[in-house]
C-alpha cells in the first residue's frame, strides 16, 4: 500500500512493482493536546492512537466496525477508529478513553459509575462502552434504559451480559453533578 495526497501527495511506484511509502505529517488534537505524528496515510486512526501515540486504551476487537471496542469521539461524534483512515483525521479533535477523566486523580462520572456498578468485567469493551455512553449522554442527558440500549447497540460485550453496563449508565446520569467530581461531559 502506498497512497495519498491531493495534488501534493502522490504514491511512488518503483520499477520492481514495490512501492515507497510517503509518510504524512498528521496533525490532530488528541484529548486536548495538539499532536503531530508521522504516519502512513491509510493507517487507521486506531493504529495511530495505539502505536504512534501510545494511547492503548482504545482496543481493537474486530477491525471492521462491528464491535465498537475502538470507539472514540471524533469532533464529538462517536466513531469506530478502525474505520477512520489517518488522513481523514487530519485537523480533527479526538477524545479517547485516556482523555475522559478530568484528571489523573479523579474519574469522570461515567467512569465512576462503571466502577461502582460493575460495568467493567474483563474490560476490553469498557473504553468503547464509556465513550459510547458519553456520546449518548451528550445527545440525551437523561436517557431511558431503552435509549441506553440503543446508544450502546454498536458496542459488543462478550462477558458482562450488558446488564451492569446499563445500570452504570443510568447511575451516571442520576449522579448529582454538584457533588460528583469531574461531572462535565
Amino acid at each position: 500500500m502506498s497512497t495519498h495526497g491531493h495534488d501534493s501527495h502522490h504514491a511512488t511506484t518503483t520499477s520492481s512493482g514495490t512501492f515507497t511509502r510517503p509518510l504524512i505529517e498528521l496533525r490532530l488534537r488528541v484529548n486536548g493536546i495538539d499532536t503531530v505524528c508521522v504516519v502512513h496515510p491509510m493507517a487507521r486512526l486506531l493504529d495511530v492512537l495505539r502505536e504512534s501515540l501510545h494511547l492503548s486504551g482504545t482496543k481493537e476487537g474486530c477491525g471492521e466496525g462491528e464491535c465498537g471496542a475502538c470507539a472514540v469521539l471524533l469532533n464529538g461524534e462517536l466513531v469506530c477508529s478502525c474505520l477512520v483512515p489517518a488522513l481523514q483525521a487530519m485537523g480533527t479533535e479526538v477524545t479517547t478513553i485516556e482523555g475522559v477523566a478530568p484528571s489523573l486523580a479523579t474519574l469522570d462520572r461515567v467512569q465512576q459509575a462503571f466502577v461502582d456498578c460493575g460495568g467493567a468485567q474483563c474490560g476490553i469493551c469498557t473504553p468503547g462502552m464509556i465513550l459510547a455512553a458519553k456520546a449518548l449522554l451528550t445527545r440525551c442527558p437523561q436517557p431511558t434504559e431503552a435509549e441506553i440500549r440503543e446508544g450502546l447497540a454498536g458496542n459488543l460485550c462478550r462477558c458482562t451480559g450488558y446488564t451492569k453496563i446499563f445500570s452504570s449508565v443510568l447511575r451516571a446520569c442520576q449522579a448529582d453533578g454538584a457533588t460528583t467530581e469531574g461531572g462535565e461531559r
Binding site: S56, C62, E66, V115, I130, G154, T160, F166
Partner: protein
C-alpha cells in the same frame, strides 16, 4: 488435625453446625457471610479504575523496544498435503526480519503414529491451519511477505459437514486412530477408542460409580418395560468463543531466557507448553498476563501463534508480537463442537424417571472429545438406569477447544427439552417433574426461589396464553431448564501473603484475571482474615514468578486459590504473633476474631489490631504461605469432596409468528456457587453466562461453504453475537451454599451460569407456539418452517 464446628448447608434453609476434621494450619471456619465484614459483600473491582481509564494493559498493548509484528500464514485449503515450504523470497521482502515454518502443530487430535514421530505434520486438516509466519517492522510488511512464502500443497478432497463426513466414501480426516490431550479447561480424548472412517467411538458413559455395561442393559430393559417413553433427536451448532480480545502473545528473548506476554487463562500452561515445545528449561520461561480480554476456555497453552512468536523472536533477535485477527480467531483457535443427540427418557406414570438413554455424535472438526453427556449422567443421577454413548465425527474444520462448560449447554438442550416433553406427556408441570427426579438440595431451593421470582404459576399449557399484537401474531411462552457443573479444584494452588510494618498487606498468587476479576476476591479474603480495609491489600497475580496457581478453567479458580490465600494470611498472622509476642510481653498472643491479635500481658488481656501489631515489627515484613489443602474431613471425602453445582433458569419469550423472530424478555436465574465471595462479581458472571446462552440459542453459528470448506461469516457482522438490544430483564437468586470443605467455601460460577439457558429458551419457545424446535440456533427460518409444518414438529435443517 483437629475437630471443629463448621456451618454446612444452605444458609436460610437447612444450614446447620457440623463437626468436621480440619487439617492443621487453617483458620477457624467462617459462619454465614452476613457475619463477615468484607467477604460476601457486593464489592467493586479493585482494578476497576484501571479498566475504565484505559490504564489496564492487555497483551496487545504491550510495547517493547524494537517490537516486530508477526503474521501467520494459514492454509488456504481445508485438506492438503504439504510437500515443501520455501521461505527465501519472503525473507528478502522489505522490513522482514524473520520467517519461520511451524515445526509441528499444537491443538486438535493427533494420529497415534504422528505423535510417535513428533515431527513436522505434513497434512493440513483445516482451513487456516498455521504453516509458517513472518516477523517484520510493520504489520503490513509482514502481511505482504506472507504472500511470498511458497507452499507446495497437494490439495486433497475435503469434508466439512458432519452428515457428509459420515457417508461411506467421505474423505478421511484421519487415516488412523487418534487421541487428543485436554487443557486446564477440560476436554481431551483418550486413545484406545474404536474408529471407523470419520467416526470415532463410542465412549460409553454412566453416572459416577456405575458400570456402563450394566447400565446399558438396565436402560434396554426399561425401554421394553411398557412405561412412558419420550424420544427426540436434537442438534446443536458450532459456536466460536469470540472473546473480544483475540488470542495473542508477545515474545522476547534475553540470551536463553524467554519472556512472553500472553492473552491467556493459564500462565503456567503457556510456560510449560513453550518450554516443552522449544526444549528449554521451564525456569527460563516467564509468562506475564496483567489483564486478559476473555477466553471462555480457548486460551490455555501457548498455541501455534505463541510458538511462532517465540521462534520468530529468536530468529529475528527482537521482540515479536503475534495477535490474531478476527478471521483467524474464528478459524483456528477452537470452538464449541456441533452435536446430534438422540435421547430417550423412560418414566412411570408417577413421573419418576426409570431410564435415560443418550447416544449421538459431536463434531469438533479435526479434534476429538466432542461429548455432551454430562447433564444426562448427572442432573438426574438418581435415575436407576442411565447410559450414554458419545461419538466423534471428524471434519476438515478447526479443532474444538474447551468452551465454557464443555458439552453441557449442548447436553442440557437435549435433556431438558426431553424432560419438558415428558412433563407434557404425563400431564405434570415441568417444574414438578424435576422436583420428583432431582433431589439436589441446591437446585431444589433454586426451583422454589426462581419460580416465586418469575411467577411460574402464570404458565399455561403450550400455545394457550392469549395471543398479542394487532394481528394476534405474538405468542408468549414460559419455560425452564436446569443444569449442572462440578466442584473442581486444583491442589497445585499456592499463595503468599506478606504483612508490612505499616499494616498493609500483599497477596501473591500465580493466577490470572480472564475478566472474572479474581484480584478482588483474593483481596477480600485476605482483608477479612487480617481485619484490614480492602484498600490496604495489594494483589499481585499474572506472572509465573509468583507462587504456582491454577489455570482459569472449569470454574476452578475461586475454589482453588482463595482458600490458600486466606490460609496464607492466617499463617502470616501467626508469624506476626510470634514476632510481636515478646515485644508486648504476651507469650500467648494468637489470632482472634476480626483480625485482632489477642493474648495476656502481665495478667491482663490485651488486644492488638493488625496495624498496631505490625507497627511493632522489628523486621520489614512477616509472611505466610499456603497450598490448597485437601477438602476438610479427609477421612470422609478422601480429600476430594465430590459435588455438583446446580443452576435453574426460567425464561419468558415472545415469538412473532409472522416473522419467526424470538425475543427473550426475561430470565430468572437461581444459582449456587458455594459461598459467593463477591455477589457483584458473581451476578456479573451469571449475566454473562446467560447472554452467551441466549446468543447461542438464537444467533451464533459458524457457517461454512461445503464446496470450498470456507467459513462465510468469519467476522462479528454475520457471526452474530447478542448486543445491547438483545438483553432481557435478568433477575438472579443467589444461594449461599456452605459445604465446610475449605477455609473460604467458595466455588466457581462461570460455567454453571451458561448451561441451562438455551434449553430454557427452547422450552419457552415451545410453550409459546406449541411446536418444538430441536435444532440450534432457533432462527426465524426454523421457527417459520416449524410453524408451517406443525404436524411433524421438527424443523428442517
Amino acid at each position: 488435625m483437629s475437630r471443629a464446628e463448621v456451618l454446612v448447608g444452605l444458609v436460610g434453609a437447612d444450614a446447620t453446625l457440623q463437626s468436621r476434621e480440619l487439617p492443621d494450619g487453617v483458620p477457624p471456619s467462617w459462619r454465614e457471610s452476613s457475619t463477615l465484614a468484607v467477604v460476601g459483600k457486593p464489592t467493586q473491582r479493585i482494578d476497576g479504575s484501571d479498566k475504565v481509564t484505559g490504564r489496564a494493559r492487555y497483551t496487545p498493548d504491550i510495547k517493547r523496544p524494537g517490537l516486530l509484528h508477526g503474521k501467520i500464514l494459514g492454509s488456504p485449503h481445508p485438506h492438503a498435503r504439504v510437500h515443501g515450504v520455501n521461505i527465501s523470497d519472503a525473507e528478502a521482502q522489505p522490513g522482514v526480519k524473520a520467517v519461520v515454518v511451524l515445526p509441528h502443530l499444537l491443538g486438535g487430535a493427533k494420529l497415534e503414529s504422528e505423535k510417535a514421530r513428533g515431527k513436522l505434520v505434513p497434512v493440513v486438516r483445516y482451513l487456516g491451519q498455521p504453516i509458517a509466519a513472518v516477523a517484520a517492522e510493520t504489520p503490513e510488511q509482514a502481511k505482504a511477505a506472507l504472500a511470498r512464502i511458497k507452499v507446495d500443497f497437494e490439495v486433497l478432497p475435503h469434508v466439512v459437514d458432519p452428515d457428509e463426513a459420515l457417508k461411506p466414501n467421505a474423505p478421511l480426516v484421519f487415516s488412523g486412530p487418534v487421541s487428543m490431550s485436554g487443557s486446564a479447561g477440560g476436554g481431551g480424548a483418550k486413545g484406545g477408542i474404536p474408529q471407523k472412517g470419520n467416526l470415532r467411538g463410542p465412549k460409553r458413559g454412566a453416572p459416577r460409580g456405575k458400570d456402563a455395561a450394566q447400565m446399558e442393559q438396565a436402560v434396554a430393559a426399561a425401554l421394553r418395560s411398557g412405561q412412558t417413553v419420550v424420544r427426540g433427536t436434537y442438534r446443536t451448532q458450532v459456536q466460536t468463543h469470540s472473546a473480544l480480545e483475540t488470542h495473542g502473545l508477545t515474545a522476547e528473548w534475553a540470551g536463553d531466557e524467554l519472556t512472553v506476554w500472553a492473552s491467556t487463562q493459564g500462565i503456567f500452561s503457556v510456560r510449560d507448553e513453550l518450554a516443552e515445545y522449544l526444549e528449554i528449561p521451564t525456569s527460563k520461561v516467564r509468562v506475564i498476563t496483567d489483564f486478559c480480554g476473555g477466553g471462555f476456555g480457548a486460551k490455555f497453552g501457548a498455541g501455534n501463534y505463541g510458538v511462532l512468536a517465540a521462534l520468530l523472536a529468536k530468529k529475528a533477535a527482537a521482540p515479536v508480537r503475534v495477535c490474531l485477527d478476527r478471521r483467524e480467531e474464528h478459524l483456528a483457535v477452537g470452538n464449541r463442537p456441533a452435536s446430534e443427540q438422540n435421547i430417550a427418557l423412560v418414566s412411570g406414570k408417577d413421573g419418576k424417571l426409570a431410564a435415560i438413554e443418550l447416544r449421538g455424535w459431536g463434531a469438533g472438526g479435526a479434534g476429538a472429545g466432542a461429548g455432551f453427556a454430562g447433564p444426562a449422567n448427572n442432573v438426574y443421577g438418581h435415575c436407576p438406569a442411565i447410559y450414554t454413548e458419545e461419538f466423534d465425527v471428524f471434519t476438515h474444520t478447526g479443532p474444538l477447544a474447551a468452551f465454557r462448560a464443555p458439552g453441557h449447554p449442548q447436553g442440557a438442550f437435549a435433556l431438558e427439552q426431553a424432560m419438558d416433553e415428558l412433563a407434557e406427556k404425563l400431564g405434570i408441570d415441568p417444574l414438578e417433574l424435576r422436583e420428583r427426579n432431582d433431589p439436589h438440595p441446591g437446585r431444589r431451593l433454586e426451583r422454589q426461589k426462581a419460580a416465586e421470582l418469575f411467577g411460574w404459576s402464570r404458565r399455561t399449557l403450550a400455545g394457550q396464553l392469549p395471543p398479542e399484537g394487532a394481528l394476534g401474531h405474538i405468542r408468549r411462552g414460559l419455560g425452564m431448564a436446569q443444569g449442572c457443573w462440578y466442584y473442581f479444584w486444583s491442589d497445585d494452588s499456592h499463595a503468599e501473603v506478606r504483612i508490612h510494618r505499616d499494616g498493609t498487606a500483599e497477596v501473591l498468587a500465580g493466577v490470572q484475571d480472564i475478566g472474572t476479576g479474581v484480584r478482588t476476591p483474593l483481596a477480600q479474603v485476605v482483608a477479612e482474615e487480617l481485619g484490614i480495609p480492602l484498600a490496604s491489600v495489594k494483589v499481585s497475580i499474572g506472572d509465573t514468578r509468583l507462587p504456582v496457581g491454577p489455570g482459569s478453567g472449569g470454574s476452578v479458580t475461586t475454589g482453588s486459590i482463595t482458600p490458600p490465600a486466606r490460609d496464607a494470611a492466617y499463617q502470616a498472622r501467626l508469624s506476626l504473633c510470634k514476632e510481636v509476642a515478646p515485644l508486648v510481653g504476651a507469650k500467648d498472643l494468637a489470632p482472634g476474631p476480626g483480625g485482632k491479635l489477642v493474648g495476656t500481658a502481665a495478667g491482663k488481656p490485651i488486644e492488638l489490631s493488625l496495624k498496631q501489631a505490625a507497627a511493632k515489627l522489628r523486621k520489614e515484613q512477616v509472611s505466610g504461605t499456603a497450598r490448597r489443602k485437601p477438602d476438610y474431613d479427609a477421612a470422609a471425602t478422601n480429600g476430594r469432596a465430590w459435588g455438583q453445582t446446580g443452576g435453574v433458569q426460567l425464561a419468558e419469550v415472545t415469538v412473532d409468528t409472522l416473522t419467526g423472530i424470538i425475543r427473550v424478555e426475561r430470565i430468572v436465574a437461581a444459582h449456587d456457587c458455594g459461598r459467593p465471595l463477591n455477589p457483584l462479581l458473581v451476578e456479573s458472571q451469571i449475566h454473562g453466562g446467560i447472554i452467551q446462552g441466549i446468543s447461542y440459542a438464537l444467533f451464533e453459528e459458524r457457517r461454512l461453504d461445503r464446496r470450498t470448506g470456507r467459513m462465510l461469516n468469519a467476522n462479528l457482522e454475520q457471526y452474530k453475537i447478542a448486543g445491547a438490544l438483545d438483553v432481557p430483564r435478568i433477575d438472579i437468586a443467589l444461594l449461599e451454599d456452605l459445604h465446610g470443605r475449605t477455609s473460604t467455601d467458595a466455588r466457581g460460577i462461570g460455567e454453571p451460569a451458561t448451561v441451562p439457558t438455551a434449553a430454557a429458551v427452547a422450552n419457552a419457545v415451545y410453550n409459546a407456539i406449541g411446536v418444538r424446535l430441536r435444532e440450534l440456533p432457533l432462527t426465524p427460518a426454523r421457527v417459520l418452517a416449524a410453524l408451517a409444518a406443525p404436524a411433524t414438529g421438527t424443523a428442517p435443517r
